[in-house]
Symmetry: C2
Subunit: 159 residues, 2 copies
């Protein structure tokens, strides 16, 4: 493995470790337990699962990896706080969307060549990217990995 | 900037963003507020500050970047749960240790050449590293960045 491959693999591996850690916690919780708040008056675990699924689903177009799978998650899980918008997604459907998004996303990550991680993401213009080369796919991957860790820490409290 | 520099810079930048996010939260909290639990019966914010300072301090020897600054943090903040071991560190002293460790660590990170991130960390033998080249400094950096995000999510709940 050359240096660029090692850099890219280590970053994708970090993503996989965080997703795996959260999957393990979620697998240990019943659908009823997903209704628990992470702390009194705060988000329910179920909301955070929907939130993370929606944020990760947005990475497909953001990273130029294809179309979204579940745009219907945005209104209840990104644009509004917990309990604000009615939706009829069951805990099982949310678990399914979460798993589907991460599985397909991770496969797309593993198919990228190392140098493609350093290309711009679609939220930055070509002109801005010439001045700010750190606004690349890798920065998005690390940022979303940190974001997933942030909410995993919260979900862990309710476990 | 060449590819290796971009990979390394993006990873160090992700660390700096997470530390900066937590610093901002901590700056907004009074010393009294640091005594709050992140959720009922869970760790106090102050404990998590000591815990993260100790874990980050251990990165100096782990990454071959020098000696530890605050080994006295291990007993109260890593080896034992909150409230188990008496210590006489004031909130101000803990804030100081936290800032000192991260400042010196970040400076050491920024002084590394890109390829040095792919060298082994000191907890893996040369022999094992030949078989497992992903057990490098970068993997530790990303893991600790995720760990800091995990606890930042918890601290954010008490804010």
């Amino acid at each position: 493995m050359n240096h660029e491959e090692l850099f890219a693999n280590t970053a994708v591996n970090s993503w996989k470790l965080v997703i795996g850690q959260l999957n393990k916690i979620l697998a240990s919780l019943s659908d009823e337990e997903l209704q628990k708040e992470v702390a009194p008056g705060r988000n329910r675990i179920l909301y955070l699962v929907g939130h993370l699924a929606a944020v990760h689903d947005r990475m497909f177009p953001l990273l130029g990896l294809g179309d979204r799978l579940h745009p219907e998650l945005d209104a209840p899980f990104i644009e509004n706080p917990d309990r604000k918008v009615a939706h009829n997604l069951s805990p099982g459907e949310l678990r399914g969307a979460w798993t589907e998004v991460n599985t397909k996303l991770t496969a797309a990550f593993e198919a990228l060549r190392p140098e493609q991680w350093l290309e711009r993401h679609t939220a930055v213009s070509e002109e801005d990217f010439r001045k700010e080369p750190h606004r690349n796919r890798l920065a998005v991957l690390l940022s979303r990995t940190n974001h997933a860790s942030f909410h995993t820490g919260q979900i862990r409290l309710a476990k």
